[in-house]
């Protein structure tokens, strides 16, 4: 259509050759340069020819131009042709026309160029760098950016998260895909896609579903709580890295700091605990937040399911203690699904956990009675001698219990062995006797 219109004007309007007669001159400059506009009036004919607008006449954009002209031409309105783009752009941050942070307002030409008009499909991340330099730089170091550079065309780029450039809205806008409450769904486009994860060998699991059911996910998606963690609060956004990367916010050793961004009080207590110190033979903390709370499945700590499941998490490292705990009344009742009895944290504490050798520990000899008294109001030092983790198999530490177990086992085996044999011998004889009696009256073999 534009071409037809252009052709109709062609009779009395200047042609490109007319314009380029002057504008192909590299030294052609504006008399009084306006701020923010190029001083040069040079137009590269080859670039123009090769551009998206290569087939258009100059007057298609510069509608009032004559050849030659003395006065400055009015600004070009792209919307004259691209009216849909204008409508979309006007609703977004890029078309808001507001300058931000000392940068000029975004115009069509900021991204697409002027005479060497670039098609949207030919624009790259470098286009965004003009204004969003630090973000692009962070992105290039991220797992997404590095995957892109390695030739992965499915790795997320700017528009994957922020949406199409014309429609892009501010992060604070509830319509934005990266708005705090929308971000999980945006990340899920790829990270809840099992096929995509398989193609890229991302060991992602069903993190999206787990997160959505977690205390963080529910707060975000159900309560609309802006202060509850979404994906980027833990993983970062532009700089996002694999958890195996020591620079990652979710690298094991960095996790307490990451969680502590919001849970500052807990971090302070945890920093003093035995779990903060490296376990023997490892570099990082013995246990970090996610070891007990999980990463994406974080649940309310007041609720029974978590209180019971976390016992198993403790047992993940403290296997012998869990096994012996399960042999006591405390451990059996929690095993049956009831919480109103001592669980690991009830005696040992949780974030403030300390070894028994530390006098401040709730299980230190000095504080043990006080700890027992939480449930057993009349507990005494003698009462507190009860061992909540006895191992009768450990002869050196528990000689009495060892002997008792051996004795009880011997009694059991002895009694059952004796009467088992007794019964096995009696049964056939008894049957033979019964059959004989039925056949021939009293033949039972009574002793004379």
């Amino acid at each position: 259509m534009l071409l037809v219109v252009g052709a109709a004007w062609a009779a009395d309007l200047p042609k490109a050759e007319d314009c380029l007669g002057c504008h192909a001159d590299r030294d052609l400059k504006r008399g009084a340069p306006a701020p923010g506009r190029p001083a040069s009036l040079f137009v590269d004919p080859a670039g123009l020819k090769a551009s998206a607008h290569g087939t258009l006449e100059c007057v298609a954009c510069h509608r009032t131009a004559t050849a030659p002209h003395d006065e400055k031409l009015p600004p070009v309105s792209c919307a004259g042709c691209h009216d849909k783009a204008r409508a979309v752009l006007a609703a977004g941050i890029h078309g808001a026309g507001k300058a931000r942070g000392g940068r000029p307002a975004v115009a069509c030409t900021s991204c697409h160029g002027t005479h060497q008009v670039a098609r949207a499909t030919t624009l790259t991340i470098e286009t965004c760098t003009t204004c969003h330099g630090p973000q692009v730089l962070a992105y290039k170091g991220s797992i997404h950016g590095r995957s892109r550079q390695a030739g992965d065309t499915e790795a997320a780029t700017c528009r994957s998260c922020h949406g199409p450039a014309h429609a892009a809205v501010a992060r604070s806008n509830p319509e934005s895909p990266v708005y705090h409450l929308n971000l999980p769904r945006t990340c899920a486009q790829c990270h809840a896609d099992g096929e995509l994860a398989k193609r890229h060998q991302i060991r992602v699991g069903n993190v999206y579903q787990l997160y959505m059911d977690s205390i963080h996910g529910r707060a975000v998606t159900r309560s609309g709580l802006l202060v509850s963690a979404n994906c980027s609060d833990c993983h970062g956004s532009h700089e996002i890295k694999e958890r195996t990367d020591p620079a990652s916010r979710v690298f094991r050793a960095n996790i307490p700091q990451t969680c502590g961004t919001c849970h500052a009080g807990i971090l302070k207590v945890y920093a003093e605990s035995v779990h903060r110190k490296p376990a023997s033979g490892s570099a990082g903390p013995a246990a970090v937040c996610t070891d007990c709370h999980s990463a994406h499945q974080i649940r309310r700590v007041e609720a029974a399911p978590w209180q019971l499941d976390v016992i198993r998490e403790c047992g993940g490292c403290h296997g012998a203690e869990l096994r012996t705990y399960r042999e006591t009344f405390h451990g059996k009742v929690t095993g049956l699904g009831f919480t109103r009895i001592a669980k690991c944290a009830d005696c040992h504490g949780s974030h403030d956990i300390l070894p028994a050798s530390n006098p401040r520990s709730t299980v230190s000899p000095g504080r043990l009675v006080e700890t027992c008294r939480q449930c057993h109001a009349k507990a005494t030092p003698a009462f507190a001698q009860f061992h909540p983790h006895p191992d009768p198999a450990d002869r050196a530490r528990f000689p009495l219990l060892h002997v008792a177990t051996v004795f009880m086992t011997a009694l059991l085996v002895g009694t059952f062995g004796f009467f088992g044999l007794h019964t096995l011998l009696w049964l056939p004889r008894s049957m033979i006797d019964l059959l004989r009696r039925r056949r021939g009256g009293e033949g039972g073999g009574e002793a004379p």
Partner: protein, 272 residues
């Protein structure tokens, strides 16, 4: 099982009521205690939940424990009364529960009989396995009852005992209870009820009566002794009434059924 002949009393009403309490409380203790011991099995969890959870099961367990302590005290009172009244043969002789050399001899004869090397021993009032049953319960109540009381009132007992005894009590209570449950539901059931001569059950513990044919076959020495002493006629009675026979079967077979299911669950768990 029962011939047309006359019946004789073997157990008096006091014996039968106390054994009724034993049945009720023992099954109750087993059903409410096993779910805790087998808390890591699906049937343990299911049974615990069916009872209303470990705390409700705990209250019920203590209720049955009180019944146990009651019949234990009633039995000790009964024996004490016999002693005070100078009843002969409480501590020795054919009517006594005390193990005697004759029991070892009869055990030896019984094993020979099992192997086809001799006839049945001539048992008197109590065969050796019946005495074993009696003392097993006696020992069991003492051990399980004492350790159970320790665990019931730990803060009280900690006033005189070191806390380590509670660790000991847990092991003893649990293992001895497993022994008791296994012994009663396998061997007492077989010896008294399930062996072919008695199958499926011997109602004497409910009716108190034994017919002449069975009396002569199972307790020939006692039968002859009483007849010679002219005391047999004093024990002679009518056959048990129909309601009593029905009651015996209903209660006895239910108790047997519950016990066998429990012991099957335990064994299948142990063999897993």
């Amino acid at each position: 099982m029962s011939g047309g002949g006359p019946f004789y009393f073997r157990l008096n009403l006091y014996h039968r009521i106390l054994h009724g309490m034993v049945i009720a409380s023992f099954l109750g203790l087993a059903v409410t205690g096993l779910p805790l011991k087998f808390a890591d099995t699906s049937w343990g969890r299911g049974l615990s939940l069916a009872l209303g959870g470990p705390f409700v099961a705990g209250y019920l367990h203590r209720f049955f424990a009180v019944i146990t302590f009651t019949y234990f005290a009633l039995h000790l009172g009964y024996v004490g009364r016999l002693i005070i009244r100078r009843r002969p043969g409480v501590f020795w002789g054919p009517d006594s529960m005390v193990p005697q050399p004759r029991d070892l001899v009869q055990l030896y004869q019984h094993v020979r009989y099992f192997l086809g090397l001799g006839g049945r021993p001539r048992f008197d009032r109590w065969a050796y396995w019946e005495k074993f049953d009696y003392w097993a319960v006696f020992w069991g109540i003492a051990i399980i009852g004492a350790s159970g009381l320790l665990l019931w009132f730990p803060t009280f007992f900690a006033n005189f005992l070191p806390g380590r005894v509670f660790n000991l009590a847990i092991i003893v209570h649990s293992d001895e209870a497993l022994l008791a449950v296994g012994f009663i539901f396998l061997f007492h059931f077989f010896n008294a009820n399930l062996r072919p001569e008695k199958f499926p059950m011997d109602p004497v513990i409910f009716t108190g009566r034994i017919d002449e044919e069975e009396f002569r076959r199972d307790h020939p020495a006692e039968y002859e002794r009483l007849r010679a002493a002219g005391q047999l006629e004093r024990l002679r009675t009518d056959p048990p009434a129909r309601w009593l026979r029905n009651f015996s079967r209903a209660v006895g077979l239910s108790a047997l059924g519950i016990g066998l299911v429990l012991v099957w669950l335990i064994i299948s768990t142990a063999l897993r």
